[in-house]
Symmetry: C2
Subunit: 343 residues, 2 copies
């Protein structure tokens, strides 16, 4: 197979602002002002500069701009737990679209629920002097916090609702989600209730939902009949095998609350493969309102969450903060329990 080396490529000289300015017959500074749409130029000058830009095909060098003044960075760092999850994919998608509409670029990373990974991501990101960052970790290291404080840029914490955020928090109320589902399941008459979750490393928001869930049971003088926390990525597979484990270990479980819809679907399939009727023999509930839940033979009882809205709110709040506009520092993204036919 052919082997190429690219060093023979000729790199076309880039057009600079100075060339644009010269073509327009103004100074670099005036051209800069026109392009940033800041004030201090006449309409005539504006038109002449824009014409020169079009004619020369000028592409601004954001590197130089961001470097020259720390105020003009248009870079936003975003760190999510996983890139492979449909939920976070949707949030990322929404953040990315919103930010690029507002003239910002996103630099993405994943932390796999490990505060140390988030910290090393942050170190790297800060070396790019971003205008702001969006974090999704449940907990942060001390170093992370002090870096953010020292660096002094806007920070949005997403996913979890945090009533005393570093700066701004946009998230779901996971505790309430769990509590509401707990009440619902108990209200439907189930009494021997189990939980199946999965955490690859340190606990994420599933644990917060679980505590709300347990609280709802406790309010009815119930406790979890069984609980299985796999050391794995949450997904269909983990749900399938987690259910197997629970049902083999504990008898007469009449309902299972899952950390996520994907896990609930995995569990549902396990039950079907064992000939268990849902919800007569066993009830199943998830969280997330993912697409897969809507095409199942039985509609999954779950909590539907607004990932798109979350991403959009987070991005908009961050930009507002960057621009010095007033922003609410705690924003709740809506969630809603959707009764299906599995509970």
């Amino acid at each position: 197979m052919a082997v190429h080396v690219s060093d023979n490529k000729r790199k076309k000289e880039n057009i600079t602002l100075a060339q644009v300015a010269e073509a327009a017959g103004v100074s670099k500074m005036t051209a800069s002002r026109v392009l940033r749409n800041s004030s201090g130029f006449s309409t005539k000058t504006h038109d002449r500069v824009m014409q020169a830009v079009d004619q020369l095909g000028y592409v601004p060098n954001r590197l130089a701009a961001a470097f020259g003044s720390d105020k003009s960075s248009t870079l936003i760092g975003v760190c999510v737990p996983r890139l492979t999850s449909g939920m976070f994919g949707s949030v990322l998608d929404s953040i990315d679209h919103t930010l690029s509409r507002l003239g910002f670029q996103t630099m993405i990373g994943s932390h796999e629920q490990q505060p140390e990974t988030e910290q090393s991501w942050l170190t790297t990101i800060l070396s790019w002097r971003p205008a702001g960052v969006i974090l999704s970790g449940r907990t942060h290291t001390q170093t992370t916090l002090s870096m953010l404080r020292d660096y002094g840029i806007p920070v949005v914490e997403i996913w979890n609702l945090n009533t005393s955020p570093i700066d701004i928090s946009v998230g779901f109320n996971h505790y309430d989600c769990g509590h509401e589902m707990g009440r619902y399941i108990v209200g439907r008459g189930y009494r021997k209730i189990a939980y199946v979750g999965a955490e690859a490393s340190t606990p994420g928001m599933g644990m917060v939902r679980l505590s709300g869930f347990k609280q709802a049971l406790a309010a009815n003088n119930l406790d979890l009949a069984a609980q299985e926390l796999l050391i794995d990525r949450p997904g269909f597979y983990a749900g399938f095998y987690g259910t197997e484990t629970i049902l083999n270990r504990t008898s007469n479980v009449d309902s299972i609350y899952y950390q996520e819809d994907t896990m609930a679907v995995g569990g549902l399939f396990y039950c079907q493969s064992k000939g268990l009727r849902v919800p007569e023999d066993i009830a199943i509930a998830g969280w997330g309102g993912m697409e897969v839940a809507s095409v199942l033979p039985k509609r999954l009882t779950t909590t539907s969450v607004t990932t798109q809205a979350l991403g959009k709110s987070a991005a908009e709040a961050l930009v507002a903060r960057i621009r010095g506009e007033p922003v609410q520092d705690v924003i709740v993204a809506p969630t809603r329990l959707v009764p299906g036919s599995t509970v």
Copy 2:
């Protein structure tokens, strides 16, 4: 709710290379050489500089580095069709991990299968002067191609195998995937074969697989009995309703090939809901080897693809090209037909 404004924050002065150099008693240039591990310094100097770095907590300014010399950019642009797809999520994850291990940062965008969106993403990315880009579009606009040529950076095209790439291609052989599945389905005795796909905008690789699939049918003197191409994002939902449409429109269809596993699963559920036995009444095959397929009551017949390997290969090839090392310019990522119990 409280309203904050961040302009009262105090930004700690960043440590610069000059300060490190002074503390180490050397010149800026020598410190720079040590940090980049290029040659031209003694062990003693190296240690003194590193000690100063640790002591001062120096964080390099990549913005300045990339700006000062176009050779030292560590930025890679990556553009995928969607952030919400599990398949691309996995590829992104793999690319991101590999690149960050090699000292690069990724800037991600999505093009939604629209060459124009890819082009505008490229314009933005180029303004950051990246060291290389990874594209996944099936087709590119003329402007995209000429920008890449002018700019002269390494380019890796992923997802599709392209025998005459812009620079480097790392992908699956979608045609062969389709062809192999076509042969397999015909070989199992099916004759009235349909296809269900979904494209939100311009055709992606599903179309390439379909053409391989059709070719395999043609080799057996068969033609597609029916075909449904939804104008939608491929997913469970599209698979469900695409199947409904096909089966209502054409009678006696005995097998359906889906663009993706998620769609196949959607189709499978539709069939179950209508009391159709799989594969006795109707056979179902997908593509992708996604996790959901492995927990279904019946294991899905599909083509398993190595998204992780694809991402890793792409990232490694790009870095090798950036470093001027020899690279194969066409790299095939493995795919494998996995017989399940749905065909």
